[in-house]
């Protein structure tokens, strides 16, 4: 199934809304390749709930799961998050600087 880039960005951002999912991502950044059990261990959640969070992160393309024997190891995939953050950062820089200049202009120049 072809997934549109639009819904890709939607999924990235909605996946990042949840603090548990952000905690999982942060941990995977430090410790790549953790198993699902290891991810679940410090969380105050039952394994099925953790699996659901991992499904959301997987759908958003933020993680990749690899099965070897009975163990599923999980890795961070940085691409989608970088795409979304790059978009925001670029415009934040552009607009905050432009709006500073707008403020100078409308406040200081005579009408």
């Amino acid at each position: 199934m072809v997934k549109s880039p639009v819904s890709q960005l939607d999924r990235t951002f909605s996946a990042l809304v949840d603090p548990t999912r952000r905690a999982i991502l942060a941990r995977l950044e430090r410790e790549p390749g953790l198993s699902v059990t290891e991810i679940a261990r410090p969380l105050p959640l039952k394994l099925p709930a953790v699996m659901k969070h991992l499904d959301v992160l997987d759908d958003a393309g933020l993680i990749a799961r690899t099965k070897s024997g009975r163990t599923v190891s999980v890795e961070l995939v940085a691409g989608p998050m970088e795409e979304a953050l790059a978009w925001l950062k670029r415009y934040e820089r552009f607009w905050s600087a432009s709006l500073d200049r707008l403020a100078d202009f409308v406040e200081k120049e005579p009408e």
Partner: protein, 148 residues
């Protein structure tokens, strides 16, 4: 579902009419548009629903930039909504919404720039989106088949 969006709220010591004019009159746009002190080289604004604007500016590093868009809502001194794209990235469209409200000593402006795709650009988009998302699609395909 949330699209990525950037919201900035600013207060200006100037009337809503003044701030609105600075956004909508080409000769005033030319006085502030752009992230550094580089010059605006050209500004046009056909201020009506369906009308278009373009602003060409140079940054201090010498790079030229051109942004364009189409007005979607025009409420004098109160609200502006326009689409936005860089001329070099026509397939990536977004939407800017600005509200101007009278506030103590001037204007409160709430500004939102959001990813946005209407039907037409969504179609363009699927054809035109560059390498990054193709790679991502590939990644999805791999992840999906690995998960089976």
């Amino acid at each position: 579902m949330e699209q990525p969006s950037l919201t900035i709220v600013r207060r200006f010591k100037a009337s809503p009419a003044r701030v609105y004019a600075a956004w909508t009159q080409p000769e005033l746009i030319a006085r502030w548009w752009g992230p550094d002190g580089g010059p605006v080289l050209d500004a046009e604004a056909d201020l009506r629903v369906g009308g278009r604007f373009r602003v060409v500016f140079q940054t201090l590093d010498g790079e030229m930039h051109e942004c364009r868009g189409e007005y979607r809502e025009v409420e004098v001194d109160r609200k502006l909504v326009f689409t936005w794209h860089w001329v070099t990235l026509p397939e990536r469209r977004s939407l800017v919404t600005i509200r101007f409200r009278p506030a103590e000593e001037g204007t409160e402006m709430s500004f939102t720039h959001a990813q946005f795709f209407d039907e037409a650009t969504r179609d363009d988009h699927q054809k035109g989106w560059g390498g990054a998302f193709e790679k991502l699609e590939g990644l999805f395909a791999e992840t999906e088949s690995a998960g089976e």
